[in-house]
Symmetry: C2
Subunit: 301 residues, 2 copies
Amino acid sequence: MTDTLLSSATKEVRIGFDRPFVIIGERINPTGRKILAEEMKNGDYSRVVSDALAQVEAGAHMLDVNAGIPLADEPAILAEAIKLVQSVTDVPISIDSSIVEALEAGLAVYEGKPLVNSVTGEDEVLERVLPLVAKHGAAVVAISNDETGISEDPDERFKVAKKIVERAADHGIPAADVVVDPLVMPIGAINTAGKQVMHIVQRLRNELQVNTTCGASNVSFGLPNRNGINSAFLTMAIGAGMTSAITSPLHPEVMQAVLGADVMMGHDPDCANWIRKYREPTAGGNGREGRGGRKRRRRSA
Amino acid sequence: MTDTLLSSATKEVRIGFDRPFVIIGERINPTGRKILAEEMKNGDYSRVVSDALAQVEAGAHMLDVNAGIPLADEPAILAEAIKLVQSVTDVPISIDSSIVEALEAGLAVYEGKPLVNSVTGEDEVLERVLPLVAKHGAAVVAISNDETGISEDPDERFKVAKKIVERAADHGIPAADVVVDPLVMPIGAINTAGKQVMHIVQRLRNELQVNTTCGASNVSFGLPNRNGINSAFLTMAIGAGMTSAITSPLHPEVMQAVLGADVMMGHDPDCANWIRKYREPTAGGNGREGRGGRKRRRRSA
């Protein structure tokens, strides 16, 4: 029943075992987006604002904000981007950086309780990031790799996650404020990547009782029809107990997979969200009347 | 590692824990298809043949054949339909009837090892159907309801399935030849229907080591965008351990969900089936280069 509460100045979002899946919009990230990187570096945040609005409009419950631009003043850019995103949307933010000073700058300007993305199991990183998370009363994404890299053995990755949860507790951060990223590998290269994630997510949920997140799109790297693979991954991961993902809400197919998974999990009471979204006359359906009725009685010959 | 072997005169199909999901085409069924019912009753099997060919072309690994038409000679029609389908395709057949005499007529003409669809947990039905299955060396679909109806408690449905597996053993039918249908309820009416199925499928797999099937489309009865719900259901059910389904292969979205789930389960080596099917230039993809690389190293400030 673990709930991770996040907030902006005016809105709360809860990631939890018995709640609809939380989509953290991934788009505000200059990695691999040259134009966005150039614009942010030059103080032009118009695309940050339009990406924020478009993702919330498409159904994102939170937004990830990253300003990782080589040779740029990342702390200043990240703080500026966060202030702007908070001025135009009311969803909580995932402050995303691999530079501790940038996380610090983001936290300093943030209004509410953010998600700090991220901390790994490396001792040096833990000791720099966790005090910051504790000081600001934030929640944190815990990535299950450490000094030895990313293990292909999901039980090793589980151990790293456990270490981070324990270390967080030492800093006064409850397990409910640690959201574990089990690390999603490209399944085109590592065919067991899906099974690995399902296994570790189940252990994280049953043994550590922590919420989970992931960079979902990574699973389809290098494959055709990436949205199809991402949809299958998210649906199955939600079935295994995953409770949030950092992904793009701009693909209707992926959003449909998440909403459908919410229905399957019993997290969409009366299927109200599903019906509201899809009741248009363009909705699909195969016209069959269902099979259950026929099976309930057995005619005699 | 349970494998259920089915065959036609010339082709074998295995339903199994470590194998790609088996799609049993549901279309050759006059229930709710008035024109087809009328044609079959009048000895016109042209639509049976075209439906058989279309489903195999679309990716069905087996075909369900049902001739349940009120006031018609179901045994004769079912036998005729099976002979025709076997003459134009080479996939194994699921002989589908609620009338024992029709199952008998179908079995008499079948070439190979078919799936008999179905037996319930009702004593009278068990004692009429199981001897027939044993005599013909067939496999059988076991539906987890009995004299008391369909329980909403998945553990009660599990008990019925267990009883059928045990009774089958008494008749010399191994558990590998019993494919359990956990019964899929419409999730629009029963919001816990998805969780029920996932729970029972896991128990069937872990405790009875049996393969599973279901009438998948039933889950979306009454909801808009049924293919979206069916896709979410199948993906999540495959993640829970479901190994086959009686459904329509004619919806590209549903077939994509199944192929994507095979990839996730590690049942599509090197993603070869996925790549073959989706490598066309129309394939999707979101253009992101994946997130893993960034997370593997942490830059210093």
